[in-house]
Symmetry: C2
Subunit: 148 residues, 2 copies
C-alpha cells in the first residue's frame, strides 16, 4: 500500500491490520518490566481468577505495533494525545486481536503548511469483532503536496 | 507507606514518586519492539532533529512503573480508562522525570460494596516541574472496610 498522506485520509473510512496473537510469554515479560500486578505476572494467583490478563499499557503497545503495519511511518509526525482510552474487558493470552482504524476528521494546520491535524478512532477487536481496547488519537500528518 | 485504600483517597491531595531517568538504551529497545519510528530508533536521523525522542507509549509505561512505587498494588483492581492523554513535548534520553498523582474525585460503587471508583490526574514532570505527559485515569479501588 502506498504511504498515506493527509490528502489520502477520508473521514468515515476504516483501515485494518492484524491479526496479533497475545502470547503468554510476551504479556508476562511486558508486565514484569512495567506493570507487575499479580493478575499480570503471577500465574498461580491468576489461575484462581480466570487466568493472566494483559496490562492495558501492553495493549496500547500491541495496537501501536499493528499501526506500524500500515503505511503511516513516513507521514505521521507525532501524536498530540489520546482521548477516551477504554479497556473494555480483560484480555488473556492466546487471544487473536485485529486493529481497526477509522478516520474521523481532518483539517490543515493554520501555522505550518506542510502538515494537517488528523483524528481517528483506534480499536483492538477480538475474534467476535468486539472492541477490547479503543481510543481516539489526534496526530500531525504530512501533506503530499504542501504547496497546493 | 501503608496501602492506600478507597477510604484513604482525599481528592485535592497529591502523591509523588521518582525520579526516573530515561536511558537511551531502554528508550531504543522499547521503540524497536513497539514503535520503530525513525526519531525513536535511528540515531543518525534523530541527530539532525535534536536527538532521539521517547515514544509516547514508552512514557505511559514509565509512568506506570512509577505508580508501582506507590502502595497501590494491592488495592487498585483495574483501570476503566484514560482521558485527555497529552504528550506535551518530545522527551529525550537523559531526562529525569517524576510522577505527580493528584486525586480528583471518588465515589463508592453502586453495584459492588467492596470497591469504589477513583479518579486522578497523572503527570510525568521534568526537572523544571513542567508536565511532559499527563492524563486522567479512572480506577476501581478496594475498600478497607467494605461492610461499613
Amino acid at each position: 500500500m502506498d504511504d498515506i498522506y493527509f490528502e489520502d485520509v477520508v473521514p468515515g473510512t476504516t483501515l485494518h491490520a492484524g491479526p496479533y496473537v497475545i502470547s503468554e510469554q510476551e504479556l508476562m515479560r511486558f508486565a514484569a518490566a512495567w506493570d507487575p500486578m499479580p493478575m499480570h505476572v503471577d500465574k498461580a494467583y491468576a489461575e484462581k481468577h480466570g487466568g493472566l490478563t494483559a496490562p492495558g499499557t501492553y495493549l496500547l503497545a500491541v495496537k501501536l505495533k499493528l499501526v506500524h503495519s500500515l503505511p503511516l511511518r513516513r507521514t505521521v509526525i507525532a501524536s498530540i494525545g489520546y482521548d477516551e482510552v477504554r479497556f473494555h474487558r480483560p484480555v488473556r493470552a492466546g487471544e487473536s486481536l485485529n486493529l481497526m482504524l477509522e478516520w474521523t476528521g481532518k483539517r490543515r494546520s493554520e501555522s505550518k503548511p506542510d502538515r494537517g491535524i488528523v483524528k481517528g478512532r483506534y480499536a483492538l477487536v477480538d475474534a467476535a469483532g468486539e472492541a477490547v481496547l479503543s481510543h481516539l488519537d489526534t496526530v500531525l500528518m504530512r501533506l503530499r503536496y504542501p504547496n497546493v
